[in-house]
């Protein structure tokens, strides 16, 4: 589904990504772990075309490095940014409509289904997005991306600042998304959710992938966890 090879990216003169290699298969949940500042968010921003890439990024066999963000989204790659970016003056329903790439085709998801899955959002369908709680905003942001019917989504820190109960809901939603054949690249700092729902994991350090494995193998790899993940 997604294959990243020797990806480099720069912020000015700072060499942030120094040859990142990883892949995500169809229907898989893959987590990209690492401490703050190692380049996890930059990796997804670069894949999404927000940061100029050097290297190869193939999505569904097509080279997307250098394409514009909206073109990449049209190919079926969704992105839920870290800051959520809910449109505060638009209602919940309008936020969801905004996620649809076209009004003509019916995708895997529709608004009424989203409201069934998240009754909180349904009850507040006509409320401005800006007044929702952090958890509701996160759900709305993920649902909005799903409205575009992506084949894969990249989610940056979805559980940041959320209560444990809401984190559980986020985990359930991610599993439901994967069940419907949508691949997920989960960018996380918290190990708990990544270990619980991921099929495979990558650990980043100093702008590179320093470890690849399964949740079980990472649990056993004490050295990796202490060197690259634990604070």
């Amino acid at each position: 589904m997604l294959e990243v090879k020797d990806l480099h990216a720069y912020y000015g003169k700072s060499h942030i990504l120094q040859g990142v290699n990883f892949n995500v298969q169809q229907g898989e949940i893959v987590s990209l772990l690492g401490r703050n500042g190692v380049g996890r968010s930059t990796t997804v921003k670069t894949i999404m075309g927000e940061v100029a890439p050097e290297g190869s990024i193939k999505f569904k066999g097509e080279e997307i490095a250098g394409k514009k963000s909206f073109e990449i989204a049209h190919l079926g790659l969704g992105y839920v940014p870290e800051n959520r970016d809910i449109f505060p003056t638009l209602t919940v329903r309008q936020n969801l409509v905004l996620g649809m790439k076209s009004t003509k085709s019916e995708g895997r998801w529709n608004i009424e289904e989203m409201f069934k899955m998240f009754p909180n959002l349904g009850e507040r369908a006509d409320v401005h997005g800006g007044v929702l709680s952090g958890g509701e905003q996160q759900m709305l942001c993920m649902c909005r991306t799903l409205m575009g019917d992506p084949d894969m989504i990249m989610i940056d820190e979805p559980t940041e600042g959320l209560a444990p109960k809401i984190v559980e809901q986020v985990a359930l939603l991610l599993q439901e998304i994967a069940k419907r054949g949508v691949a997920i690249l989960l960018v996380e700092q918290k190990l708990s959710i990544a270990l619980k729902i991921s099929h495979r994991l990558y650990v980043m350090g100093h702008g590179k992938i320093v470890y690849e494995g399964t949740p079980d193998s990472l649990l056993k790899a004490n050295e990796i966890r202490s060197e690259w993940l634990e604070v």
Binding site: F87, T89, Q94, V97
Partner: protein, 316 residues
Amino acid sequence: MLEVFIFATLNGLVTGLLLFMLASGLTLIFSMMGVLNFAHASFYMLGAYFAYSISLQFGFWLGLIFAPLIVGCLGAAVERYGLRRVHESGHVAELVFTFGLAFLIEEAIQFFWGPDTKNYQSPDILDFPLFTLFGQEFSAYRGFMIGVSVLIFIGLFRVLTRSRIGIIIQAAITHPNTVANLGHNVPLIFMGVFGVGTALAGLAGVIAGPVLTTFPGMAIVLGSIVFVIVVIGGLGSLAGAFIASLLIGLLQSYAIASDVGMPDLLNFLGVSFERDHPLNDLWTMTLPQIAPILPFLLLVLVLIFRPTGLMGNREE
């Protein structure tokens, strides 16, 4: 007195709604690009001249349809091949670009149409009094101007608040990257908004040309007031632009229609000055005389007491 008030209100509405047609495009473009388009009133002037030329061959109504379309296409081309490239060099470069474009359009108009006033006429079918009140006539063409402006306002409001494209535009104003990540072509949206904004300015020119006269200085006459409106309303606020347009249209209209002045005020205060007083011109000044500067006076007051404008929320 009542007839003066009613006709001043109607004329104020005509001016105010016309100003809104110009200000709405300008404020939308500012919202999206963060730059004031100094050439905006030049597109208004182009609308009047294109409509004049079309009306000579095909009549007023085809001019009403095609002139704004041509101006809108020109505006979109300016954004696509000019502003978008200049945008990379920052806002100062954009301001200089639009400033230069205003001069270019004015010179081009003088080159192609000449420096004299054009005999651009309203259509014969609207050349009758819509109604007569207190012996005074209100022309059907002015009623038509109000009708077109109100329709545009309702259409613009509905598109921006009810339609999917309106939702996308609203979101692209504040979060262009997020909107692009959702699969929407933001540069194309910007170009479309610029095109529609300039087309609205062109439409204002088409319907104002026969009333306010079509001459190469018409952009300068209205241009500065439109900027005042956008600032008074609050930069980027469409609702603010609407309120400020009506406010200024009515204010100027009431001022022109009134027959009060400094002598009345001085009489009221029981003060009098000799005719040979050095400031005699000031003491004899009337409200209609200062009507043209009232928008600027209001601008100063708004900037002192509410720098963000009536409906603006931009602090930066």
